[in-house]
């Protein structure tokens, strides 16, 4: 029984971020450690609702009230157990998830929501520090069935771990040099230290998951052809993500100094981990403009600042949202509201309600600036306001407009899976594509989404594969392929 009046006793409190001047000097995570007992007080704000909307708001179905209560009671090991019951990688989500759970927290109706993400991360980190979370749980009974997981992002890893524990022989293929997908190369280090990722991968290895990196399965000249994949494995999971970037159709796009956000972030991260010697795109001393108001944009923003950009501007086509929940997104749906990420505190500028019209070029064909108009965003378009044209100086432009879907040449075409009109891989209730024995999980099937959806899909697809291979399954199946957040 939770403390029924904890929410009346404690106010919401979250960890402090390190001082901006300090944190800009390194790539370490931005948050300061939080007092254990302060975390417990935050957990005590949980009201143990009859309908825990947070538990619905979380695609994984994290059983938030229960681990809040265990945290309040200082029973961290059990809290970790309860957390891992629904989430293979809470240390990732604790850092990287935008916490739809908090948007749907009942306490948030008339008060600040419970700091769920904080509690999650604290539980996860403590369980990792104690080693409890990383104890391998190899299957006691092997099935002898072989499953290939293509792609090592959160969906692929979650599926791999679930299937390995179910006793299958799992091989994870990654076309990049090292395993982890966006968690390895997309996310800036200041959001997640890579040691966190590596520690978890060791657990998967100990549970029997085999990782094969640097192999572009089904790609031109790859060692692993589609045919050999199908031959060697009883089932295949496509977890290649949604990697085709959304482009911008603006005059001057071809100019030098205009890059896709992911190209920029990946090389930055590779340099940090030491697998690439030097930056190919460096923001140092540059006027940086980021097109796109989302999280990837913010990642570029913080990265550019740390690289020593002269200025950083992030453009958002939407007008600035209100400071609190917008009426168009009533509780408990994910709130539209002004969100200030850590990077945004560190300098630079955000410009809302603007659309870029043309890039200005230098004489030698590099970008020099960008023309913007103010106006109103409408579905599928933008109505510019007359006479609102402005020019923003820019010698590095990063396009962070999201992704349209998985790449189809190579693996997907080779497998022959059906692609939907939305450009994602078609699948049935059990996450199987139109090709027998081939499954899809994560953004490749869903389109770009959140890490929690990816892990949830990985878990559900694993259940689908297990049932396909064995006739039935006991693996949890947290999300239906068509499930979406409340709206």
């Amino acid at each position: 029984m939770a403390d029924p009046s904890g929410f009346l006793k404690y106010q919401r409190q979250t960890p402090h971020r390190r001082p901006v001047p300090l944190r800009l000097r390194d790539w370490n995570e931005v948050y300061e450690p939080f007092e254990k007992d302060a975390t417990r007080a935050q957990a005590a704000r949980c009201m143990d609702c009859g309908i825990p909307f947070c538990h619905q708001g979380c695609p994984l179905g994290n059983i938030i009230p229960e681990w809040n209560e265990l945290t309040r009671l200082d029973r961290w090991d059990e809290a970790s157990d309860r957390l891992h019951a629904t989430n293979n990688f809470p240390e990732f989500t604790g850092r990287l998830c935008p916490a739809p759970c908090e948007g749907s927290c009942v306490l948030g109706i008339g008060d600040d929501p419970v700091a769920i993400k904080l509690v999650e991360q604290e539980i996860a980190d403590r369980a990792i520090a104690s080693g409890q979370a990383l104890v391998p749980h190899p299957a006691e009974v092997r099935t002898g069935r072989k499953v290939a997981v293509v792609g090592s992002g959160p969906a692929g890893l979650a599926a791999a771990q679930q299937l390995a524990r179910a006793g299958h022989d799992v091989v994870v293929f990654e076309r990049d040099l090292r395993v982890g997908g966006l968690m390895r190369y997309g996310i800036p280090w200041f959001k997640m230290d890579r040691a966190v990722l590596d520690a978890r991968l060791d657990q998967l290895r100990a549970e029997g998951v085999e990782f094969v990196a640097g192999v572009n399965v089904g790609g031109d000249g790859s060692d692993v052809t589609v045919a050999s994949l199908r031959e060697r494995f009883d089932a295949v999971i496509i977890a290649t993500g949604s990697t085709v970037p959304r482009e911008i159709d603006v005059e001057g796009r071809h100019l030098d100094g205009i890059h896709l956000a992911m190209d920029y972030l990946v090389q930055a991260n590779k340099v940090l981990e030491g697998t690439q010697d030097a930056l190919t795109i460096d923001a140092a001393g540059k006027d940086v403009v980021i097109i796109g108001g989302g999280d990837t944009g913010a990642d570029c923003y913080g990265t550019a600042l740390r690289q020593g950009a002269r200025s950083v501007r992030q453009l958002d086509i939407h007008v600035a949202p209100p400071a609190t929940r917008d009426a168009s997104t009533p509780w408990p749906v994910y709130p539209l509201m002004m969100r200030t990420s850590a990077a945004h505190e560190e300098g630079g500028e955000r410009i809302f309600g603007v659309n870029s019209t043309t890039f200005q070029a230098t004489e030698d064909g590099a970008v020099a600036g960008i023309h913007l108009v103010e106006g109103e965003r409408i579905p599928g378009g933008f109505i510019p306001k007359d006479g609102s044209d402005t020019l923003v100086k820019a010698d590095l432009v990063l396009i962070a407009l999201g992704f349209t879907g998985p790449e189809t040449p190579g693996l997907l075409e080779g497998l022959g899976v059906q692609i939907t009109r939305r450009g994602v891989v078609e699948r049935d209730e059990a996450y199987m594509t139109t090709v027998d024995g081939v499954f899809v999980a994560g953004d490749a099937g869903r389109g770009q989404s959140l890490i929690v959806w990816a892990i949830a899909e990985g878990r559900s697809a694993a259940a689908g594969v297990d049932a396909y291979l064995m006739g039935s399954t006991v693996l949890p199946d947290p999300v239906h392929p068509t499930a979406v957040a409340l709206r």
Binding site: M1, L73, A85, V106, H137, A139, G167, P332, V333
Partner: protein
């Protein structure tokens, strides 16, 4: 049954639910002098009890009336055309036996019956003296058509026995013993051969005349009764109130020995036990093989008839009638430390022989010499007696049934709980209870027998108990389907606090049979509860009458009690821990107790074999049990331990009941006691079921292990050790069972065991017949295969081959009480709550459609029964939508539920009221009263004023300002239970509205203390109608099997509307076992109600409302087609107003300001009336669309058209395969309207009050002072109330200045004298009065004093002058009574001053305010549940005070003066001698007083004083203190 128009079971109607209640009277000449006057007086008394009976749709068809007298020997000699043998002088009883035979109407059948009779009589060696045609004049008597249609042919049979060796023919008792087998054989044989004969009596001592008649028809119907030669010294008369309108001649009372006012709640168990005992019965007193009289309890008989049959057997086999009655209705001896040792011995000994026949009862009995009466242990029926100076004793349900001049009455008294009143007409004396019991107790050395024979469980040597591997606990939990939630929600509170958990906001999960996930077998059963026809009990406050103890061990021959009969083990609680179990298993390990030897029968089966293996294993267990019995085992332990990877446990309930029923059938059941060692039982409901289906004790080993583990891991805090946690759990489960029993009105575990007071839903009838014999379901359902599949699924989880696959996932998460993604389906889930709020707040019909589609979709997935229905839109041509009545008309049929101000905030309460007032719908106050400001504001008041058991805020003004008054008999969340508003929720504004004290907790009793039966309800309806003749009176019931029958009774009690609530709704807090496991879906109750009302021709006069989880337009339309014309909503509009189903209403922490009084949280409230209006208008529009599609233009046209519901393509759930909901859709083929077409008219113009109002015209018109002086009789009920309502209507809540209206009444007042009397009226009653004096007193004054003509031989202090339940719910005013009154004086008094000179049990119960002065002896249990006010007791006996909440203190100085003043007033008003004597030397006599001071109340008074001295706000200080 023959001679009955009761229809065969059809649809959901089943005649077995028919119940009755009644008025009863008895008259005897003390000296045994026979006269016709006694008979005539009996009939007069009967007619004066008419208001306690009832008539059906046709007023000329009564529910039954009858009279039992001594055999009028002289008359029979005169009227018979054959010789009757001579009776020896001075004999008790005649040398012949006589009785009326109810013979078949068909001449051939009649001839056949008479042949059988002649044959049997001859076969029994008896002589058939002759037949006499009993004169009857049905037409002249005015007997109605329906009764005539089934009327038997009446002939009197006269029998005698051959003379013995001494040449004397047997007579009296000896003859009756010979007649008895003959009668039983005749009954059995004629029934078997299709020519059934019924004998109301056949005896040499007494004879019964009865029939399906009104009281007035009885004497006219049987001219014998008015023949002056009809002489008797004893007469028992009875007037019946049945819930149905179907005449059935044999169901009238009296029976052969008794007339019974009450209901036997445990009768199913009692009958089973009797059947089981038959094998061991033997007596020399009844010659021949006793088996020819079996079954003792005739199948299909009423509870009273079964009682009579067993009583007859016990009596004829050698016990005196009082002795036999005491066995069957023992007093509450268990918790009475003052009981005489010998009497205790008698009671204990007989407890080993037979379980009590438990339930409210006033049983009047006679054997022709003794006339007696006894009340049940709770005293739930009224009974008063008088002794006249000419030697007549009168005993009746009411005072005043015979016009006896007061000067002739030398003594008057009342029946008391569990006490016997006995008249010996031969000895010529009245025997009091103690005398009777002492003499019986001395017949045998019972106390020694008990000491020698019985062993306390704790005295058995301890034994080695099994210690299962703690590592494997998780696996065991998995095997038995434990969930994380079970541990957190169910087990943790029990283990930690020794109490069951509490929840709020009802339940919205599927019935077991509709669930998509494995369910426990327990879930298919729901607990029955008492409503209307009998009361639930308060096991907490009235613990003195309950008992959890029982005896375990074999029974012997019931008819030949010996010291060995009580060879048994005493179990203090029905739940036993592992050591106790080990003691029982090893009881004979040392070989010294072979008579109690135990054997273990194991209940495991090959899980792979499915249902067939399960069935086979049960058969094996049954034969194992047989073998064990044969081998001498006297205790059988049924165990489900030690399952493994191939053997799974048989559900403990299944195997327990299977073995129990089997042993009953084998008639070996009473040779053994059953103990269950169950791993699956983990909550109160489970234990209750195991007991209810035959177990004497349950060892729920796994929950105890789990509890201990919780303590070890620290969940329960540092103070609870592992052993304490287990003890707590044992206690919590036991207490919970007590509460479950109490809901059904059963007081002792001994009689609960095997009583089968459960309803089953969703199980195949064949499964029930085989394993739960006697439990039935009209709708079928799952078979053993499904049960086995569920077991297998749990078993598979426990015996996983690969644990890693489920790493971190030990137990399933649960999700029954709180929504969980991986848990059970809930109709209200994040999506539906969101859509509903969003739609109504943003006024978007399209979102509302998404909401209803989603909810209806969940319904279809098993969320509700109605989800299985489809609507037949093809049966009638659709009508254009614009021809359907407008939404503005439909919303008038919508009401919001009864949620009290107190449980929800003022903001939420007013939101609903304003919205409904704007729409023309109706909102409901709930039980908390209404503050005056709102009461008088038509836009903000609630149209419906609820009257619940706590009567909080129920004043004259409250009732006068009602559009409808609703009597809450039960509420969906926790039918059969009361409630409690803890002190920290009694904020100042709540206290003011409830007439209570800030910061002091309030208790609502489980029963209405003025409704213990249907005729009491009729009385309350009458009271309320008098309190506001313009208001509609409705009665709220909760769905359970038989609710239709209750609804019929309610209609006959003249309610205008009946509400059938589903079990699922319910916004209040409730113990979890009630929330989930009591009551049934409204679909069942509504359909049954509609069918029963129509079969009874009662539907036209009553409106039917349904409520319980209605959420969508489709829900409304289904309810409409099943027969409801009004629709209640609670949860949905609350959600609209902001509720998010936190389910913490009981904690006062509602974060959205709905269910809280905390001002900080109330500030977060965001609801508005507009949202609620939008909801109902959207809903009404949907209803219109459905009506158009179905082809109706109005709701009225559609009501009751159940044939438009289709179930063909319903059931897709694998487990629901056998479910057949067609009985819900049955439309009885009778000419009877489908909805209320002729609302009943209520004529109050001929009441005494009509006259009072006329005489009070100068006051009512001009505020002039008026004095009125009128005579009054017991049939003048509710005197003064309508007058009071006129005063309140005209002059407002404050009434008139004191003594404006003085009304003097002389005679005997009927029930409810001065109910709700407002200020300004004084009623001075000279004579005596019946029950419910000053009910709801609202400022008026009532003075009750004896007639000045009463003889001075009996001083007032011993005279019983008033009845039970005085000043129930009084809020202000004064009552002065010179004399004693009955039980529950001042119950729930919250502000009145009451003076009396003696009381029965439970005085000042639940009192919350006011003062009570008691100048004489009280009964037991004074001040139970008393949280406020002060009582002053003269010469008190501390043992009689229940000090759980109160202190006994000395008076403080200021009180002495006050008391002196009060006594002075008492003397002035009543002429009290007691008070006058005390005043003679007051300072001295003041020392004889103590005050009873509730601790909480005192604390608050002290805080108030402290606040005053500190100059701070007292209320704030109190609230802070009460929150701790």
């Amino acid at each position: 049954m023959s001679f009955s128009a009761i229809p065969a079971p059809q649809g959901l109607y089943d005649p077995r639910y028919e119940v009755d209640s009644c008025g009863v009277a008895a008259i005897a000449d003390l000296k045994g002098r026979r006269s016709h006057r006694i008979v005539a007086d009996g009939i007069t008394a009967l007619i004066n009890l008419d208001h306690r009976g009832a008539a059906g749709a046709d007023p000329s068809v009564g529910d039954g009336a009858g009279i039992l007298v001594q055999v009028p020997e002289d008359m029979f000699r005169a009227v018979c055309d054959f010789e009757l043998p001579k009776t020896p002088v001075g004999a008790d009883g005649c040398a012949f036996a006589a009785g009326i035979a109810f013979l078949p109407r068909d001449a051939a059948e009649r001839a056949a019956a008479k042949d059988i009779i002649a044959m049997v009589v001859a076969g029994e060696g008896l002589e058939l003296l002759g037949w006499r045609t009993v004169p009857t004049v049905p037409v002249h008597a005015g007997v109605g058509r329906m009764a005539l249609d089934v009327m038997p042919v009446f002939e009197q049979l006269f029998l005698a026995a051959e003379a013995g060796a001494d040449g004397v023919r047997p007579f009296g008792l000896a003859l009756d013993r010979l007649i008895f087998p003959a009668r039983k054989r005749i009954e059995h044989q004629t029934a078997a051969e299709g020519c059934e004969v019924y004998f109301p009596s056949l005896s040499s001592r007494t004879i019964t005349y009865k029939g399906m008649l009104t009281t007035a028809q009885l004497p006219a119907f049987y001219p014998d009764l008015t023949d002056v030669r009809m002489e008797s010294a004893i007469a028992i008369v009875h007037s019946r109130f049945s819930t149905n309108t179907f005449p059935a001649w044999p169901l009238a009372h009296p029976f052969r020995f008794i007339a019974h006012n009450g209901e036997i709640n445990t009768v199913r168990g009692n009958r089973n036990w009797m059947r089981a005992r038959e094998a061991l019965l033997a007596t020399d007193l009844i010659p021949g093989d006793l088996s020819r009289v079996y079954p003792i309890c005739s199948p299909g008989a009423s509870d009273s008839a079964s009682f009579d049959e067993v009583l007859e057997l016990l009596h004829l086999a050698g016990r005196s009638l009082p002795h036999a009655v005491m066995m069957m209705i023992p007093e509450a001896w268990e918790n009475n430390p003052t009981l005489d040792e010998k009497i205790r011995g008698f009671a204990e000994f007989h407890a080993c022989l037979m379980e009590p026949w438990d339930g409210p009862a006033c049983v009047t009995f006679t054997d022709g010499r003794m006339l007696g009466a006894v009340l049940d242990r709770n005293g739930l029926r009224p009974g008063r007696w008088w002794l006249t100076d000419y030697g007549t004793v009168v005993l009746a349900s009411e005072s005043g049934v015979l016009p006896i001049p007061p000067e002739n009455v030398i003594e008057r008294g009342r029946l008391q709980p569990g006490r016997m009143f006995l008249v010996d007409t031969v000895a010529g004396r009245v025997l009091d209870d103690t005398e009777v019991k002492e003499s019986l107790a001395q017949e045998q050395p019972y106390t020694e027998w008990v000491h020698a024979g019985t062993i306390a469980l704790a005295d058995l040597p301890s034994r080695v108990q099994s210690h299962p591997d703690p590592e494997a606990m998780l696996q065991r939990q998995q095997v038995f389907g434990y969930t994380e939630e079970d541990i957190r929600v169910l087990i943790t509170p029990m283990a930690g606090t020794a109490a069951e958990g509490i929840g709020s906001m009802g339940t919205d999960t599927p019935e077991a049979v509709l669930s998509a996930r494995p369910r426990m077998l327990f879930d298919y059963f729901s607990q029955l509860f008492a409503q209307v026809t009998n009361p639930p009990l308060d096991a907490v406050r009235e613990q003195v009458v309950t008992s959890l103890a029982s005896v375990l061990g074999p029974e012997g021959n019931l008819l030949d009690p010996t010291p060995a009969s009580c060879r048994s083990i005493l179990l203090p609680l029905p739940v036993i821990d592992n050591q106790d179990l080990a003691r029982l298993v090893g009881v004979n390990s040392d070989g010294d107790l072979p008579g109690l030897a135990a054997a273990v029968v194991t209940g495991l089966y090959e899980v792979a074999g499915g249902g067939a293996a399960l069935a086979a294993a049960i058969e094996q267990a049954r034969s194992d049990a047989d073998a064990a019995v044969a081998a001498g085992a006297r205790i059988i332990v049924i165990s489900d331990r030690d399952s493994d990877d191939t053997l799974a446990p048989i559900p403990s309930l299944l195997i327990t009941s299977a073995i129990h029923q089997h042993l009953v059938r084998q008639k070996t059941r009473t040779k053994v006691g059953l103990v269950v060692e169950a791993g699956d039982a983990r909550e109160v409901h489970h234990v209750a079921l195991l007991l209810g289906y035959g177990a004497a004790a349950v060892n729920p080993y796994l929950v105890l292990e789990t509890a201990a583990h919780l303590a070890q891991e620290g969940t329960l805090g540092p103070k609870v050790s592992a052993s304490k946690a287990a003890k707590n759990t044992v206690y919590a489960l036991s207490k919970g069972v007590l509460k479950v029993m109490s809901k059904m009105g059963i007081s002792t575990v001994a009689s609960y065991t095997g009583a089968q007071v459960f309803a089953a839903f969703g199980l195949e009838q064949a499964v029930l017949d085989e394993y739960f014999t006697g439990t039935s379901t009209p709708t079928g359902g799952s078979g053993l295969d499904v049960v086995a599949a569920d077991v297998a699924s749990r078993h598979a989880l426990a015996f996983q081959t690969n644990d890693a696959a489920l790493e971190h996932r030990g137990l399933p998460i649960g999700g029954d009480y709180q929504w969980r993604r991986e848990g059970e389906l809930h109709l209200f889930n994040p999506e539906t709550v969101y859509l509903l709020q969003h739609a109504t707040r943003s006024k978007q019909a399209s979102i509302f459609k998404r909401y209803t589609d989603t909810v209806d979709g969940l319904s279809t997935k098993g969320g509700t029964l109605r989800g299985l229905f489809t609507l037949r839109t093809d049966a009638r041509p659709a009508v254009p939508l614009d021809e359907v009545e407008p939404a503005s008309e439909i919303v008038r049929r919508f009401v919001t539920g009864a949620m009290s101000y107190g449980s929800i905030s003022a903001e939420a309460h007013e939101t609903l009221a304003i919205a409904m007032n704007r729409l023309g719908g109706k909102s409901n106050t709930g039980e908390g009263g209404e503050d005056v400001e709102r009461l008088l504001d038509p836009s903000r008041r609630s149209f419906i004023k609820q009257v619940a058991s706590g009567r909080f805020g129920v004043t004259s003004a409250y009732l006068v300002n009602a559009g409808e008054i609703q009597i809450k008999m039960a509420q969906g969340a926790k039918p059969g239970e009361g409630g409690q508003l803890p002190g920290h929720k009694v904020y100042p504004w709540i206290a003011a509205t409830r007439h209570a004290t800030t910061g002091v907790g309030l208790i609502s009793p489980p029963p209405h203390h003025d409704i213990y039966s249907i005729e009491d309800l009729k009385q309350l309806i009458h009271d309320l109608r008098n309190a506001n003749p313009a208001a509609r009176v409705s009665v709220k019931l909760v769905s359970e099997p038989g609710v239709g029958t209750v609804a019929a009774g309610v209609t006959k009690a003249h309610a205008d509307a009946v509400i059938v609530a589903g079990y699922d709704g319910g916004t209040g807090a409730a113990p979890l076992t009630s929330l989930k496991h009591t009551g049934q879906p409204w679909e069942l109750g509504l359909a049954e109600t509609q069918q029963t009302l129509r079969l009874n021709q009662l539907r036209a006069q009553v409106r039917v409302q349904v409520d319980g989880g209605l959420k969508t337009g489709r829900d409304v339309v289904v309810a409409m087609l099943l027969g409801a014309e009004e629709y209640g909503f609670s949860t949905a509009p609350l959600v609209v107003a902001g509720c998010v189903m936190m389910r913490v209403c009981h904690l006062d922490t509602c974060p959205v300001g709905v269910a809280t009084q905390n001002p900080v949280l109330r500030a977060r409230y965001t609801g508005t009336p507009e949202f609620v209006e939008t909801f109902f208008l959207f809903l009404a529009e949907q209803v219109r669309e459905y009506l158009a599609e179905l082809g109706f233009r109005s709701v009225d046209e559609a009501v009751g058209h159940a044939e438009l519901i289709d179930i063909e393509n319903a059931v897709s759930h694998y487990r629901a395969g056998g479910l057949d909901l067609r009985p819900l859709l049955h439309v009885p083929d009778v000419e009877s309207p489908l909805y209320c077409t002729k609302p009943a008219q209520h004529d109050l113009s001929r009441t005494l009050d009509a006259k009072l109002i006329e005489l009070a015209a100068p006051t009512l018109n001009d505020r002039q002072r008026v004095r009125i002086d009128l005579p009054i009789r017991n049939v003048d009920r509710t005197a003064g109330t309508m007058l009071g309502s006129e005063v309140t209507k005209r002059f407002g809540p404050d009434g008139l200045p004191d003594r404006t209206l003085d009304v003097k009444l002389t005679g005997t007042a009927g029930q409810s004298l001065g109910a709700f009397l407002p200020a300004g009226i004084t009623i001075t009653m000279v004579g005596d009065a019946n029950d419910y004096i000053g009910k709801g007193l609202s400022g008026g004054r009532i003075v009750l004093r004896p007639s000045p003509h009463a003889p001075r031989t009996q001083p007032g202090i011993r005279q019983v002058i008033g009845g039970n339940t005085v000043a129930y719910g009084a809020t202000s005013g004064e009552i002065f009574i010179r004399g004693r009154v009955g039980e529950r004086f001042a119950v729930r008094n919250s502000g009145a001053l009451l003076v009396v000179e003696g009381t029965g049990d439970h005085a000042c119960e639940y009192m919350t305010g006011g003062r009570a002065v008691i100048l004489g002896r009280t009964g037991r249990n004074v001040a139970a549940g008393m949280s406020g006010g002060i009582a002053y007791l003269l010469d008190h006996d501390p043992a009689r005070v229940n000090t759980e909440l109160v202190e006994i203190e000395e008076l403080v100085e200021s009180e002495i003066d006050w008391l002196e003043q009060i006594l002075t007033t008492h003397v002035a008003l009543t002429g009290s001698r007691v008070a006058a004597d005390l005043l003679d030397d007051f300072p001295r006599s003041a020392l004889r007083f103590v005050r009873i001071m509730p601790r909480d109340f005192k604390r608050v008074l002290d805080l108030r004083a402290e606040a005053a001295s500190l100059g701070v706000d007292a209320d704030q200080m109190i609230m802070e203190a009460s929150r701790g």
